[in-house]
Symmetry: C2
Subunit: 143 residues, 2 copies
């Protein structure tokens, strides 16, 4: 059967260092296991209660952090004809990094009151040809 | 005399792409001139009216973006015994990237109402031995 891709998703707690004038939040260092390569970094804003789903990257490894707000990420994989889900919530109440290998369907929802902010440090540059998309209704999930 | 380091600071306007559920904000791609190497990424929060100054990196090249709030960056260099300054404000009202070579004293101030957020994508990992610090009073500037 092979191992579930969902089990390979890495969650790394990150340090928030208290400094005068505002905290410093660690994100990613080149010597960490989560780091493969630098291709591109970009932010995705997500409004309160808004859902952005579904997307699958064929080649990109994602490193996701949420420095502002809270975001629910939902990852899914079809195994033996059954859709399996894994839900991970990160942000100000749980400051951590999620590392996602290629080949996993995912979506996310803003679960803070205001706008939440997602940073992705990807190992390749944006390439529309390596992204698959499905509408939110295509995969049934109780957001 | 050599060229002023302040003149070499690069400002690159960045795209904010309107998407349902929240915008996508470009940060940095490996093929851009501003990118030298990936060493580490980290956030610095800066409270409204707070000043974080002064710091000089001996080896680090910084790539700075402000996805939330507005931040005034002040860069300075002593030339012919005179302190020269360059002030650049980036953030939600001017979404752009600042690329800073090593050897420049700088500080920054939160000039939005709430907390502002700075992302630095640095070409080397954090190393306390390559950072010089001076207290805010050491270099006279009208913040």
């Amino acid at each position: 059967m092979g191992e579930s891709l969902l089990n390979k998703i890495q969650i790394t707690p990150l340090r928030r260092i208290s400094t005068q004038g505002g905290d410093v939040l660690k994100v990613l260092m080149k010597e960490e296991d989560s780091f493969k390569n630098f291709g591109e970094a970009y932010f995705s804003e997500v409004y309160a209660k808004a859902v952005k789903a579904w997307k699958l990257h064929r080649r990109m490894t994602l490193n996701l952090v949420v420095p502002v707000g809270m975001v629910r990420f939902v990852f899914c994989e079809e195994r033996n004809g059954v859709m399996e889900f894994r839900t991970i919530e990160i942000g100000s109440e749980n400051y951590a990094r999620i590392t996602v290998s290629p080949g996993i369907w995912f979506g996310f929802k803003g679960i803070a009151k205001g706008v939440s902010l997602v940073l992705n440090i990807a190992d390749i540059m944006h390439d529309p040809d390596e992204v698959e998309r499905r509408t939110v209704e295509t995969i049934t999930y109780n957001w």
